[in-house]
């Protein structure tokens, strides 16, 4: 690294910085971008509309009943919490391990984390029978309940993630404030407020770097906690499929996998719609993320084997019933598709160098994400269905989400994507100063010249 830095002389470096700034400033959306925003808004508003109906009529509009009392709201919550873990993986774990290629990926992974954790919090309120009493958790909160643990760690993680997104963003916001031309007044005001008077001073950078280090150390245990505690919501009960001591590690490993899939998909789409990003999100980045995905998928496979095969060896009463439904019964097609397309196929494809090129990587990442969503469905729902129960209407024995339920869930997914989309529209999604450091530009030059506009 030291040699690298010296190799770049000052004029070269300044030119490079100017080029970065030019390439990475947020740009107005084209037609596709606008259509994408319109579509997301429509889906989101439909979800909001259906939620208002749910508020008025009650949870009866869902497919849930006394028998299967948790549905896709909960599995979607688990999905959101899972995908949000990637923020800590890329920004904190890779940062502390001094993995230099992570620089252009940090902000993308952090905004995915922030968007997902916000909507995780919202969707869990959607699932509540009495959202009007959410304040009871504070007034009458019982520390013995895993739900209270979850509320505590999820909100802590949300705050840490937002800070970890925000602090490294300060130079970027102030650059937008000073150099974005022809923007509406409110946008300028927003930059002014959010930049907190950033002056691009070396001391400020030092503070930000210190803050990032502290936050990175703090966020790792909290990230492990959010998903472990989320798994305990299930593992603390007696139900087959949930009553497992393997659940925490199993959930966390799956979470890192889906989150990394999310980052890869985001990288591909950014490049696809803004070719100037190709210089920063290079094929090498895809190659490295591909290797990371393989590692994570193998770890996940290990915990999955623990989770399913050991109970299947014993075939204990209710557990056997549950496993039969997953392996050969009603849920078998979904179960095996998810295992194959969401875990085994990505491992095979990404082991080859040709498989780690951007397009095949994108396909694998989408498979990982979609399968991860359905995997959460398979973790949550079958544990409640198919138990031998009597005295309930036939229709209660099988859960299938209603259209309203899909609309609300879809609305939450669209909402999270909207947060990410708007962020990309208004803020630099790749951190210029971190990328410049990665490329070997000395910090002195960055502090001195980063903030210069490219006067043309």
């Amino acid at each position: 690294m030291e040699e690298n830095k010296k190799a770049i002389n000052e004029t070269e470096a300044v030119a490079m910085l100017h080029q970065f700034n030019e390439d990475l400033l947020p740009k107005k959306f084209g037609k596709i971008g606008k259509a994408w925003v319109a579509l997301l808004c429509a889906v989101f508003l439909l979800g909001v509309y259906c939620y208002i109906i749910q508020l008025r009529r009650g949870l009866v509009i869902t497919g849930m009943r006394d028998f299967v009392f948790w549905g896709i709201y909960i599995s979607n919550f688990v999905f959101f919490v899972a995908i949000s873990l990637v923020g800590s993986l890329v920004t904190a774990i890779l940062y502390l391990l001094k993995v230099s290629w992570r620089a252009p990926l940090t902000r993308l992974s952090e905004i995915i984390a922030v968007a997902a954790i916000i909507f995780a919090g919202l969707i869990i309120i959607v699932d509540m029978g009495r959202p009007d009493r959410v304040v009871n958790m504070v007034l009458h909160g019982r520390i013995q309940s895993p739900i209270i643990w979850d509320v505590m760690v999820v909100s802590t993680y949300m705050v840490l993630s937002i800070l970890l997104l925000y602090f490294p963003l300060l130079p970027g916001i102030s650059f937008c404030r000073d150099h974005l031309k022809g923007i509406p007044k409110w946008q300028k005001r927003m930059y002014t407020i959010l930049s907190l008077g950033w002056k691009n001073k070396p001391e400020q950078y030092k503070l930000v770097k210190k803050a990032i280090t502290i936050l990175s150390v703090m966020i790792i245990p909290v990230a492990l906690c959010i998903h472990t505690v989320t798994s305990w919501l299930f593992a603390s009960t007696y139900r087959p499929g949930w009553d497992s001591t393997n659940f925490g590690a199993y959930f966390v490993s799956g979470a890192f996998l889906v989150g990394s899939g999310g980052v890869v998909a985001g990288m591909y789409l950014l490049r696809r719609f803004n070719p100037s990003y190709e210089k920063y999100l290079t094929n090498t980045h895809f190659d490295r993320m591909g290797k990371l995905l393989v590692l994570l998928a193998v770890v996940y496979a290990y915990f999955s084997i623990n989770e399913y095969l050991i109970p299947a060896y014993k075939m204990k009463g209710e557990e056997a019933h549950h496993l039969h439904e997953l392996f050969t019964g009603y849920y078998a097609p979904m179960f095996w598709s998810v295992q194959f397309f969401g875990m085994i196929l990505p491992i095979i494809v990404l082991l080859f160098k040709r498989g780690r090129r951007p397009f095949p990587m994108f396909i694998m990442a989408v498979l990982v994400i979609v399968c991860a969503w359905f995997k959460r469905y398979l973790i949550v729902i079958p544990s409640m269905s198919f138990l031998p129960v009597q005295e309930i209407p036939e229709a209660w024995k099988h859960y299938s989400p209603t259209l309203m339920e899909w609309a609300i869930t879809g609305g939450s997914l669209a909402g999270a994507l909207l947060v990410i989309t708007f962020f990309i529209r208004y803020f630099p999604i790749i951190s210029v100063w971190e990328v410049a450091e990665e490329k070997g530009v000395s910090t002195d030059i960055i502090y001195k010249h980063l903030h210069e506009g490219n006067e043309k």
């Binding site: 009529r57 009650g58 949870l59 009866v60 869902t62 849930m64 009943r65 006394d66 028998f67 009392f69 948790w70 699932d127 509540m128 029978g129 009495r130 009493r133 959410v134 009871n136 958790m137 007034l139 009458h140 909160g141 019982r142 013995q144 309940s145 895993p146 739900i147 209270i148 509320v151 919501l233 299930f234 603390s236 009960t237 007696y238 139900r239 949930w242 409640m384 138990l387 129960v389 009597q390 005295e391 309930i392 209407p393 036939e394 209660w396």
Partner: protein
């Protein structure tokens, strides 16, 4: 009126019966009767009833305007968390006497004004293996001494009292349904929509000991009828059962009663080999079962679905 009260088994219009029953009950038990908005009364039954007002006047009003102000002796929410001093309630269910008459369930549904789908007391057909003989098993809430539902509740809406009863406060419940996930006996139900029989319970003051009026978006379950226990009476399922299947009593006094006979709890356990459900889970239920030996009735199979249990009502 007295006559009507004394034959609850008669198939009368359920709603009608309830109103009269409630009214008569309140006059006899507490004498506290409230008269709801006399002016807004739209359908006169034409039947006049004499009631005693709070200030001691005897007035005559139409029977349709009468609702119960203090339906029974249920304690208010805060007090209901303590339990009845010195008691430790236990129930014993004698499986050798159950013939699936469902009178217990009927009474439970009626007195708690339960909506059709929410059933607190279920009667299951137990037939675990082909080689075993089938039998009927009533299953209320087991009021565990180590209740998993109470452990997981984030707001203490469900709680364990000193007298062994586990209750739900539907004024506090946030509807997360974690207790339903935690209960290994699946005894809890949820009000997915606005409760059906709200009109019947209109004006009644809610108490966790009463279990009604139900509220949308909250969890409910069998409560051991603490309002009856407070009056020294037996729960509705116990008195409704024609075969004396249910015994209710106090562990501290070592006595349980099914209405017809009062016996020593420990002796009953000893003589008939009492046991509890799923002891392996460590939940320590307050409900004991006596094994289905020397049965009073031959097992007569009925296809039990929710649909035909509804019909029997």
């Amino acid at each position: 009126m007295e006559e009507e009260l004394n034959k609850p088994g008669i198939k009368t219009n359920r709603k009608d019966f309830l109103k009269k029953g409630l009214f008569a009950g309140s006059v006899l038990a507490t004498g506290a009767v409230g008269i709801s908005s006399l002016t807004s009364c739209s359908n006169n039954s034409g039947k006049k009833i004499k009631v005693l007002t709070a200030d001691g006047k005897l007035v005559e009003v139409d029977s349709n305007v009468i609702i119960e102000a203090h339906p029974c002796c249920a304690a208010p929410a805060k007090e209901s968390r303590k339990g009845i001093p010195g008691k430790k309630f236990v129930m014993v269910i004698d499986l050798s006497r159950c013939k699936h008459a469902l009178k217990c369930q009927d009474a439970c549904q009626r007195y708690h004004h339960l909506s059709g789908m929410n059933v607190w007391l279920k009667v299951f057909k137990m037939h675990d293996a082909e080689t075993m003989a089938p039998y009927w098993m009533p299953k209320p809430c087991l009021h565990c001494d180590k209740p998993p539902c109470v452990k997981v509740c984030p707001v203490s809406a469900t709680y364990k009292r000193d007298d062994g009863i586990v209750l739900v406060d539907n004024d506090r419940c946030i509807g997360c349904r974690f207790c339903m996930a935690a209960c290994p006996y699946s005894t809890r139900s949820f009000n997915w929509e606005e409760p059906q029989y709200l009109s019947e319970t209109k004006g009644a003051v809610y108490s966790p000991e009463l279990g009604f009026p139900q509220k949308k978006g909250t969890v409910e379950k069998c409560d051991f009828c603490p309002d009856m226990l407070r009056q020294g009476k037996l729960p509705h399922c116990v008195t409704a059962c024609p075969n004396g299947v249910f015994y209710m009593g106090d562990l501290n006094e070592d006595s349980v009663s099914n209405g017809a006979e009062t016996v020593r709890f420990s002796q009953l356990m000893k003589d008939k080999g009492g046991y509890r459900l799923n002891e392996i889970l460590g939940t320590e239920p307050s409900v004991y079962y006596l094994p289905p030996v020397n049965r009073l009735f031959p097992f007569k199979d009925v296809e039990i679905t929710k649909e035909n249990t509804e019909e029997t009502k």
